[in-house]
């Protein structure tokens, strides 16, 4: 029975990883309708930031890299938004394909810059060891995810910028009429969304490989979280990440890893039968 109880924190930590990745996506996908397939590569950029920072931060590279990766990935997102995505608003399906092209380019670029083999990011000493079955590095990721959710909540609800962002998300035209510079808000949204991917990337160096393909391992699952949670809903993302994380961990525990993935997919399809637009939906009378 101990093993079953042990699965709970493992499920929570899977949920935390999913949530960290999906947080960035709820911004770019949820709030702007942009399906950013290059999100995974921003995660990769965050991980490589931690790798590069090891040169002078040594084993403290991971904590040091958190803010740096936020800025690095955020700037990459900003550039992407300014140069390309800007032309695609209102064509969400096209952004999916466009950003997939970007993601191919970034992966190959990483391969040429850092080499195809995985690189090593050493975890700081204070993250070695753990509490029972739950290692400190997992706790760190969970804390980071919780902190991220809190920070975003405060930003969205307690700052003027955040409220403007919500206004644009709810009704772009009306917000523009009210004098909100929607272009600026878009930039900010993309910066934050991509920056969060960078933070997720740093966290992932603690548990997974750091290589050019890093982003591709997580992106499909993260999109499922956003879809199940409802576009643009922070609480939706949290609830969906928790549900999928726990489902994943228990399904894997009772069957195997391959079947667990299939179970998760089937569950999302079934769930969409009940709530086609995800868990939490922004109420609106508009059609489509």
């Amino acid at each position: 029975m101990g093993a079953v109880i042990n699965q709970l924190p493992i499920g929570l930590s899977i949920a935390a990883v999913l949530l960290l990745i999906a947080l960035g996506l709820t911004f770019t996908f949820g709030q702007m309708g942009v399906i950013n397939m290059a999100h995974g590569e921003f995660i990769m950029a965050g991980a490589y930031t931690a790798y590069l920072l090891q040169d002078w931060a040594g084993r403290q590279a991971v904590p040091v890299a958190l803010p740096v990766a936020f800025v690095v990935a955020g700037l990459m997102g900003l550039v992407l938004e300014r140069t390309l995505i800007r032309r695609f608003y209102g064509r969400p399906l096209d952004t999916l394909l466009l950003t997939w092209g970007v993601s191919l380019l970034l992966q190959q670029l990483a391969r040429d810059l850092f080499g195809a083999p995985n690189v090593q990011v050493r975890a700081p000493e204070f993250l070695e060891g753990g509490l029972g079955v739950l290692p400190y590095n997992r706790l760190f990721i969970m804390a980071l995810a919780a902190g991220g959710v809190l920070a975003i909540w405060i930003y969205l609800n307690r700052t003027a910028q955040g409220r403007r962002m919500q206004a644009v998300m709810q009704n772009r035209q009306l917000a523009a009429v009210m004098g909100i510079d929607t272009g600026r808000v878009d930039m900010r949204t993309f910066f934050i969304g991509s920056g969060l991917a960078g933070v997720a990337g740093v966290a992932l160096t603690l548990v997974g490989p750091v290589g050019p393909a890093l982003g591709t391992y997580y992106i499909v699952d993260a999109f499922l979280v956003v879809v199940a949670g409802g576009l643009g809903a922070l609480r939706g993302a949290v609830a969906a990440a928790l549900a999928l994380g726990l489902l994943n961990s228990y399904a894997e525990f009772w069957t195997d890893a391959s079947l667990a993935k299939v179970v998760v997919f089937a569950a999302v399809i079934a769930f969409l039968q009940v709530r086609p637009r995800g868990l939490f939906v922004l109420r609106s009378r508009a059609l489509t």
Binding site: G211, S249, A257
Partner: protein
């Protein structure tokens, strides 16, 4: 718009047919010219590995080693007085592409032989091409056995030169129970079948058998299962990036090499770097060659490789097997006096060379190699220290026919 669609479509289809046609004709002439040149003072050989995609990470290193062998042979005067001309193709980590490129190398470039492949899947995809076209493939990676194509030479280990010795070693160390962890594909599943048969015959307990999809990175649950089962050792057939996640998460769960060593068969020097030495130091691996293997041929190989590709590069077992393949083929050609496939095959049996891993002899019956098995331990500096070897080269037995406990397997 509707009417024009016809014409646009037609025009464009014409253009595209043109492209295809043009693409064909100049290359076609090149191919013909080459086959003539093949008769003159050069011999073409194909190198077919994934240079892009998920497998590139491993296969590029083998390509590099094979290239080095070709260059060395050319510097020493070539084969039969002719220089080798390598034709490099990209399998793109995609099995049908391997079949397509193999066909191209054989039919268009008329290469004398092909060195290539890494995954079993790529070999299986190429096998019918080589058999149908009566061509020759040298496959340089340890694999799951149960195969002996007349058109393939296998220079990596088969199961009785890697898996079985690894089990012997664990048994010798008094390990009574193992947990099997593998990526979900042919090699781990076959290897685990062998391990279970061996365990049943040798009083070992198999406490669990788990597979994860290729590229899987979430090992919390699996580590939990392993920890709960408390095996004496873990037998790991995970492939590629999954190893990184597995070892990181195993270590953070507090499992050390001392109380539960992991025996890996797909982790070599190159992979140790990516996993992080901290996470894997002290754990065991099973191969036929390490960069630290002591002999004159290896000193020369390591020095030449570093001189050619950079001092930070490491050499590994599949690289060495690829490097050997070129030399073994060249030796067979010399002995046969021709690059004709049948003549080369006939001449190859019994050829013995001193290679970086020690003596390698071609077994003419099944076209595998006699190889020495070596168990190694990962050192804190990222190198692998040999802790045990089989003493002499083991005769390859891809179908495990000489092992009584393996009777029910094939």
């Amino acid at each position: 718009m509707r009417k024009s669609a016809w014409r646009i479509g037609a025009a464009i289809a014409l253009i595209s047919a043109g492209i295809t046609g043009c693409g064909a004709s100049p290359a076609g002439t090149a191919g013909d010219a080459a086959s003539v040149a093949g008769g003159a003072d050069t011999i073409k050989v194909g190198l077919l590995h994934s240079l892009s995609g998920t497998m590139a990470i491993s296969e590029v290193t083998v390509r590099d080693a094979e290239m080095l062998a070709v260059e060395e042979i050319n510097a020493a005067g070539g084969v039969l007085g002719k220089k080798l001309v390598p034709v490099v193709e990209d399998g793109a980590s995609d099995w049908p592409t391997f079949a397509e490129k193999a066909t191209k190398l054989i039919a268009r470039d008329r290469v004398a032989t092909v060195f290539g492949g890494w995954t079993s899947a790529s070999r299986k995809a190429m096998l019918p091409v080589f058999e149908k076209r009566k061509a020759l493939l040298w496959y340089p990676v340890q694999y799951e056995g149960l195969e002996s194509s007349p058109n393939i030479f296998y220079t990596g280990a088969t199961t009785n030169q890697q898996i079985v010795p690894a089990l012997d070693y664990l048994k010798e160390q008094g390990k009574k129970s193992v947990f099997l962890v593998g990526s979900d594909y042919v090699f781990p599943r076959t290897a685990n079948k062998i391990i279970k048969a061996y365990a049943a015959a040798n009083g070992m307990k198999v406490l669990g058998e788990e597979y994860t999809p290729l590229g899987h990175t979430e090992y919390g649950t699996l580590v939990n299962k392993v920890v709960q089962a408390r095996p004496d050792a873990v037998f790991n057939t995970l492939n590629g990036d999954s190893n990184v996640a597995f070892f990181k998460q195993l270590k953070s769960a507090g499992v050390t090499a001392k109380d539960m060593p992991v025996m890996s068969v797909s982790v070599a020097e190159e992979e140790v770097k990516g996993i992080g030495v901290d996470n894997i130091a002290g754990h065991l691996v099973a191969w036929n060659y390490y960069q630290t293997t002591k002999n004159a041929a290896n000193d020369k190989f390591v020095a030449a490789f570093k001189a050619r590709y950079g001092a930070d590069r490491v050499t590994s077992d599949p690289m060495e097997a690829g490097y050997n393949a070129v030399y073994l083929w060249a030796e067979a050609v010399k002995k046969a006096g021709s690059t004709d496939v049948e003549a080369v095959k006939k001449a190859a049996g019994g050829i013995a060379l001193d290679r970086p891993e020690g003596q390698v002899t071609i077994d003419g019956d099944n076209q595998h190699m006699f190889k020495t098995a070596r168990i190694g331990e990962v050192e804190p500096d990222g190198q692998i220290k040999e802790v045990w070897n089989s003493g002499k080269p083991i005769k390859p037995d891809p179908y495990l026919r000489t092992y009584s406990w393996a009777g029910g397997l094939v």
